[in-house]
Amino acid sequence: MRADPKGVLTGDHYLDGDQACAEGALAAGCRFFAGYPITPSTEIAERFAERIPEAAGVFVQMEDELASMAAVLGAAWGGKKAMTVTSGPGFSLMMENIGLGVMMEVPCVVANVQRGGPSTGLPTLPGQADMMQARWGSHGDYEIIALSPNSPQECFDLVIEAFNLSEQYRVPVMFMMDECVGHLTEKVSIPRPESIEIVDRKWYRGRKENYLPYAVNGDLVPAMVKAGDGYRFHATGLTHDERGYPSTTWQTQEKCVHRLVNKIRQNAENIIKVEKDNVDDADVLVVSYGISSRVAVPAIQQARQQGIRVGHLRLITVWPFPEKMIRELAGRVKAFVMPEINYGQMVFEVERCAAGKAETYLVPHGGGWVHDPKNILQVIEAAAA
């Protein structure tokens, strides 16, 4: 399916990452946005509010982040592609309803323009410390999809991918930006609508009386209906059977959670995207995501000039984590080096998958700014020694 031309601002633009994210959402077909302003994500909301009348959609500024996330879930059941955007403190407030979205299998996108934390932390400055919260911030057992762009262009391209994945797998997709990427202004090329691939919702087309909202055949993702179209359905946060009715037995729980987890795990290879540079001959492999994947490049270039065989693996998809790839690489490289604007989050996943076959080094940063590439270089040198 191709993009609705009404949302697509075809041409070359000079936009910041936040604005590009809003344009990407519009191009993806997002027609409902509910949010509560918070730095450094507010420009996404502003841009969306300004542009959405042209695409005949809805923007609602809600009373808080709990309500924002609830409104997004409702809009998605109403048949719309929907999103909300926030930063750390708001992300925490959304967690309860993100879990509800996971349980009810609601396609939607939540962008988190990460700032320094904990708590209100550094409102105007970067962090990458919500990565684990994106994974398991809501209670209970589930799998999630999270993507991490590193430029305004990618904010545009990848948020379309986020909507597509959310529709394909009926899961809230976390769009993990950071303040740097959100506030950098660069060229953003927006293609023509006919060259933007859009995944439409998997709609139920059968007879109304036969509709079972959580029945699946084959691919673990149930077909959806639009609330108000005359189908009888029940969506709940309680453990439910195929009818959507609460059924709080261990047998139903097993079936329910099994599917929530496995619809993502079994498709991990199709979902995961990475960018590789000089991986094949690498002794040391820098693994990075978001703004850190750009800041690491001068360090990698310098190290290669010094004769160190260092490669770069950039995680575009952060969840599901590319376990298989890291396991394989751990048998070939001497060490992994991971710069993150936190004191160790994704690096523990790398370490887990390396399973002692390769050393794992964290280059930590408490937040508020990006790494000095020199610090990354020092760790590369130590890892290569």
């Binding site: 000079y14 105007t124 400055l125 506030h183 950098l184 202004t185 660069e186 750009r294 800041v295 490049v297």
Partner: protein, 195 residues
């Protein structure tokens, strides 16, 4: 080649807009890479503020300025705040009525323009930033005149577009007058010092 530029002045002068317009001109019309970073501090109308721009012929990975090759200062506060970070041999562009560099410009090539005064003469001091951009275009030769002319529309309020474009052209002429085939930057520096 990679060039780092800081535009600085006080809040309300359109300093962020300067970085945006040059970045847009380079990235969209001059076929270069240009990354602008906004600073989000406690800056407000009247206090020192700045925008950072990195321009390169190749893809820009590290997106931030480290030590500028070009400093544009449109207020004394901004000049005092940012002069310490520039590279040796950097270009310094100042509004000559608002910035007195004193004797700290030995290793810099300084170009001065009375941007705010010209803007007032043209009827509205809000175009001082576009006069500075015209001047910047002429003396730095970092960005083409044509690209800048294309980048201004859509980047300033529609009702002030003509005035902004006129201001830009005046600044460009003023800059051409200084650097014209006869004069070298060092010459311009001396004139700034003596003024």
């Amino acid at each position: 080649m990679l060039t780092e530029i800081r535009f600085s002045g006080f809040g309300g002068q359109g300093i962020i807009r300067c970085g945006y317009i040059v970045g847009k001109a380079c990235a969209l019309f001059d076929n270069k890479y240009a990354t602008m970073a906004q600073s989000f501090g406690p800056e407000a109308r009247g206090s020192a503020c700045s925008s950072e721009l990195v321009v390169s012929d190749e893809r820009i990975f590290y997106p931030y300025m480290t030590r500028p090759h070009i400093l544009v200062a449109m207020s004394q506060d901004a000049f005092d705040k940012f002069i310490g970070e520039v590279r040796d041999g950097a270009l310094l562009l100042i509004d000559e009525d608002l910035v007195k560099p004193g004797n700290r410009i030995i290793k810099l090539k300084t170009f001065a323009v009375p941007a705010t005064r010209i803007a007032e003469e043209m009827g509205n001091k809000v175009i001082a930033n576009l006069i500075m951009l015209g001047f910047f275009t002429a003396v730095t030769e970092l960005v083409s005149l044509e690209a800048m002319r294309q980048a201004v529309p859509g980047s300033v309020p529609e009702r002030f577009l003509d005035l902004n474009l006129k201001g830009f052209e005046r600044g460009y002429e003023f800059g051409g007058g200084i650097t014209g085939k006869m004069a070298k930057p060092e010459k311009a520096m001396e004139s700034a010092v003596s003024s």
